[in-house]
């Protein structure tokens, strides 16, 4: 993950998903659901915001509701299925529809904390929270304040 401190924008560069749902029945569908779920999660974590006001949507269309494009999803994604079920699991292999969307937001929030030391508590992550004044203007401001 990468945070641009100037713009506050976050890019997801590398994802590793491991899913324990028993035996993989359809490998292509499995990969597709995890990758697809992760793209939905990248959207609701970083850019997709359906703003409501007075009971109706302010976000009317895809002009401001930003679904990730192929250029936002160009990081690598690894999917590792855990096919062994625990002994007490009597339900067998289970569906993994959209499972890829579950863990990405907390993982991104945690990675942001590790990268820039800020705790994100609301989705989507507003770039404004992550922006910091660049070094040189900061220095200028500090000098001015000190005097």
């Amino acid at each position: 993950m990468e945070v641009n401190l100037l713009t506050g924008r976050v890019r997801v560069l590398d994802q590793y998903h491991t899913v324990a749902a028993g035996q993989v029945v359809n490998p292509q569908g499995y990969l597709g659901q995890i990758e697809g779920g992760s793209s939905m999660a990248v959207g609701f974590t970083l850019s997709e915001d359906a703003v409501m006001s007075g009971g109706s949507y302010v976000t009317k269309n895809l002009d401001t509701y930003l679904v990730p494009t192929i250029a936002d999803m160009n990081g690598s994604i690894q999917v590792q299925p855990i096919e062994d079920l625990p002994d007490h699991d009597t339900y067998g292999p289970r569906g993994i529809g959209e499972v890829g969307s579950v863990n990405l937001a907390p993982a991104v929030a945690s990675a942001i904390f590790q990268a820039v030391g800020k705790r994100v508590t609301k989705l989507p992550i507003d770039p404004e929270w992550l922006q910091s004044t660049p070094f040189i203007p900061q220095k200028v401001v500090n000098i001015h304040v000190e005097r």
Binding site: G32, G36, S38, S39, N61, L62, V67, T69, I70, N74
Partner: protein, 178 residues
């Protein structure tokens, strides 16, 4: 467009599509073009969008209607070989041009490029697929060996909700390779 005349009762709230269309369709316009290799001539209102001509008048429903503001790419067609969002193109602007929809890419509905999407899982619900295939065809016709960045740029006008683009990228890379 909706509120061009504030006194008009044709505003968004009480819009009856039929009366709206009627109000603007006193004139008819003969739209002529080549669509999927066939000469087309049809009488349409001058305000008709290319998308509606393709889907409603000519019943070629492979071209999808989605955002209608040119953001999602589901309605993409080839206009003289270039990808165009047909929701933003007025039919009259396309007079005399060569239009190719998803149905026109091949006789039996599969091309080597759409076959790559099938094989690599480049779609799930399939709604973005016609537009995506059109974009891929337009890219590869112009540039048979695009770089990763060029692929991303060419396909960034096609939004896919469900695949996460992984399968689509693998399919495009397969199409480039073979």
């Amino acid at each position: 467009m909706w509120n061009a005349n504030p006194n008009s009762n044709l505003n968004e709230e009480n819009l009856d599509p039929a009366s709206f269309e009627e109000a603007f369709t006193e004139e008819r316009f003969t739209f002529r073009c080549h669509l999927n290799g066939k000469a087309i001539s049809t009488e349409i209102p001058p305000s008709r969008r290319l998308l509606d001509v393709i889907r409603e008048d000519l019943a070629l429903t492979g071209t999808k209607r989605s955002c209608e503001i040119g953001r999602c790419g589901a309605c993409m067609v080839l206009l003289d070989g270039r990808p165009v969002n047909s929701c933003l193109a007025m039919a009259y602007q396309c007079s005399g041009s060569e239009i190719t929809t998803i149905e026109g890419l091949s006789e039996d509905g599969t091309t080597s490029r759409s076959a790559c999407l099938l094989e690599e899982g480049g779609f799930q619900c399939g709604y973005c697929t016609p537009g995506m295939v059109i974009s891929v065809v337009a890219l590869l016709d112009e540039n048979p060996h695009p770089t990763q960045v060029e692929v991303e740029e060419a396909l960034s006008g096609n939004i896919c909700r469900c695949t996460g683009y992984g399968g689509i990228l693998r399919a495009v890379n397969k199409a480039i390779g073979g």
